[in-house]
Amino acid sequence: MKKGMSRKTRAAVTGQLFVAPAALIVLVLFVIPLGMLVWMSFQDYPLLGSPTFNGVDNYTSIPGNDTFLNAIGFTLAYTGATTVVMFGVSFILVAIANSSRRGSKFYRTSYFLPYVVGTAAATLLWFVDSDTLVGVFNQIPLALGIIKEPIAFLSTPELAFWTTIALVTWKFIGFQVIILLMGLQSIPRELYEAARVDGATVLQQLRYITIPFLRPILALLFILSVTGSLLAFDQFLILTKGGPDNSTVSLVYAVYNTAFVKFDMGKAAALSVVLLVALLLISAVQLPLLRRKDV
């Protein structure tokens, strides 16, 4: 029989074997727990007590959940702002990091460094640094005379929003820069040399070589940035605690509160399932970007 196996079938089996370990991990540690989560979403599941089946009650209660509904608008605004800022800044920084000038290695390292600090620790650092009394973000401009009064960075919804985005950019941009850099470095230099011989301008090189080659990487970063921001949570929990006055409660923060402050795991599971479905739909729109058709 094995001899009868077509070349194509054999290749398919080999391919399946290559992905088998990943498939196993995903099955045991993701698909099964996800199934459990879906099961929980149909239960009245007090985290501390025993669960009882309650049908779709957890789902039908979502339209009445103000915290969650308010979080939708905020999270979308945050995702839009973060993605725009992150991409804009990372293009500039990667141009510096990819430069052949002296010092670019140092710059590259300095932009990446904040990424190595854990989110919780980095956020706590910022929390104290942005304090009006002891925070260095205020003390240095005050000492230099740039500002007269300390700025309470977390006191209004707008300030808290932009402070969080500044933190997130500072903390995560290194990741984006490194991935972009890796993509840039993988473009064969011969292409640029050939283009230069043909008299192509810098912009033309960008348009016809760099961007097409970077497409899958850009798409990957875009998807990571969008899903990451839609699921953003830690930075709000620690930096703003959802405040001031509940203006920075993100979707996952609302889910988290339902599960671990209200101890209502059933509702939290239902919210998670809804979020997952929404994100899958959003990603279904983005996924074609990942395919590498027109390179």
Binding site: V28, L47, L48, V128, T132, S155, K241
Partner: protein, 427 residues
């Protein structure tokens, strides 16, 4: 050749599978033997040092052993919630006393009514803690670490401001007047400080003003809220004046608790309602003389305090309830309470021990301990989500009434939302 290749391709996949299986097979359940028992205890990190002193002494003198695990405070609720969901709670759970109704109402804890009643000093155990650990007439918890809210003031700053350092303010008018006098010393010196974006801090320090005026705030087993009253308006009104006149540090409205003691300890604040735990910090770091007073009603006619801290309980799933109780009982006896708890500067859990040689040595700690007798611990199943949670209705009401333009609307709104939360929890 293809088969050879196939085998090579199979190998990594098989190796991973085998690793997974081997790993999952090698850790089975442990069997309990009949020798000395080890019981597990979880405590949130801020209380760790306190509990560890007790556990170390117990382990050194007993065959049974207590294994203490400090859970990061930030993740305590998640940890306990997940462990309860997976039936893997420890034998002893030490939890913030205000969360006790959460656990007792869900059957997470073991009924220890009879064990508590058999204690010779049962009646002396901090009464508000016992009440907080009682559900449907059954008692589930004993006090572990007591904390109470106290009015602190900086005597040095009082002197500099020309005030009598031995005469702390006795009512709200005097607080405001003294705060003005102290702030007049220098723009960098604040008259008063508070955690204006910290639900836990504010409920801990502001409820006593209201209780002191005879208000109940939460009644009927924590199912009825009464915040829409005159006293609430006076309390928030005082804080609003302090904030609006710039008598507080500029970070008071963003203070989420993480640095709320720092300005006072540094000597830059004249007065503050704070937790008894600040005594330790002041003794270690303060370079000025400080005094304590009770939290008073607006007109000064009554005083009260919030008796907080941690309760200890045995979990319903514990396999060693007797060994667990042995530790809890020992921790409340004279030796532990006097030679460990009081000696370390903490408040004893029993009202009959307030005269011990250690607590009595500093009149200020004696003063604090004596205050516990007429203190209260608020009771409500969803207390954490309504009052401590930074997104809850309590802190929204405080912020609306203190920093907002329309305190009256904020209080009415807060009352409605707190009542709605209580109703939802009652089902």
């Amino acid at each position: 050749m293809p088969r050879n290749l196939l085998r090579r391709a199979v190998l990594p996949a098989l190796a991973t599978t085998a690793l997974l299986l081997a790993v999952s097979a090698c850790s089975g359940g442990q069997t309990a033997d009949d020798g000395p028992t080890t019981v597990t205890l979880w405590v949130a990190s801020p209380t760790e040092a306190f509990s560890k002193a007790l556990v170390d002494d117990y382990n050194a003198t007993h065959d049974n052993q207590v294994e203490l695990t400090a859970i990061p405070d930030d993740g305590f609720l998640q940890k306990v919630g997940s462990a309860a969901g997976a039936k893997s709670l420890p034998d002893i759970l030490v939890s913030d006393v205000v969360y006790m109704p959460n656990y007792t109402s869900q059957g997470v804890l073991l009924d220890i009514t009879d064990r508590i009643k058999d204690l010779p000093f049962a009646d002396a155990l901090a009464p508000s803690h016992i009440a907080a650990g009682t559900w449907d007439g059954k008692e589930y918890g004993v006090p572990h670490k007591l904390a109470s809210s106290v009015f602190f003031y900086n005597k040095d700053l009082f002197k500099q401001a020309g005030l009598d350092p031995e005469k702390p303010p006795a009512n709200f008018d005097e607080i405001l007047a003294d705060a003005r006098a102290i702030h007049a010393i220098s723009p960098n010196i604040a008259g008063f400080d508070f955690g204006g974006n910290c639900g836990g801090c504010s409920v801990f320090t502001q409820l006593p003003y209201m209780w002191a005026n005879g208000e109940k705030m939460l009644t009927d087993q924590g199912t009825k809220a009464d915040f829409d009253n005159k006293t609430t308006r006076e309390v928030f009104g005082l804080y609003k004046s302090l904030w609006d006149e710039g008598l507080t540090p500029s970070n008071a409205n963003t203070q989420d608790g993480s640095t709320w003691a720092d300005a006072f300890v540094a000597g830059n604040v004249g007065m503050m309602a704070q937790g008894s735990a600040m005594v330790g910090k002041l003794q270690a770091k303060a370079t000025f003389d400080w005094g304590v007073a009770r939290l008073m009603s607006p007109d000064g006619s009554g005083t009260s305090t919030f008796v907080g801290g941690d309760s200890a309980a045995i979990t319903a799933t514990s396999k060693h309830p007797d060994a667990a109780w042995d530790f809890l009982q020992w921790s409340l006896e004279d030796h532990a309470q006097i030679d460990i708890v009081a000696k370390n500067g903490d408040l004893p859990d029993r009202t009959d021990l307030s005269d011990n040689q250690y607590t009595g040595a500093d009149p200020r700690t004696k003063f604090i301990v004596d205050g516990v007798a007429d203190g209260q611990t608020p009771f409500a199943v969803p207390f954490g989500e309504l009052f401590n949670d930074p997104n809850g209705p309590w802190i929204a009401m405080v912020r609306g009434a203190v920093f907002g333009d329309n305190p009256d609307a904020a209080i009415k709104d807060g009352q409605a939302k707190i009542q709605a939360g209580l109703d939802e929890a009652a089902g």
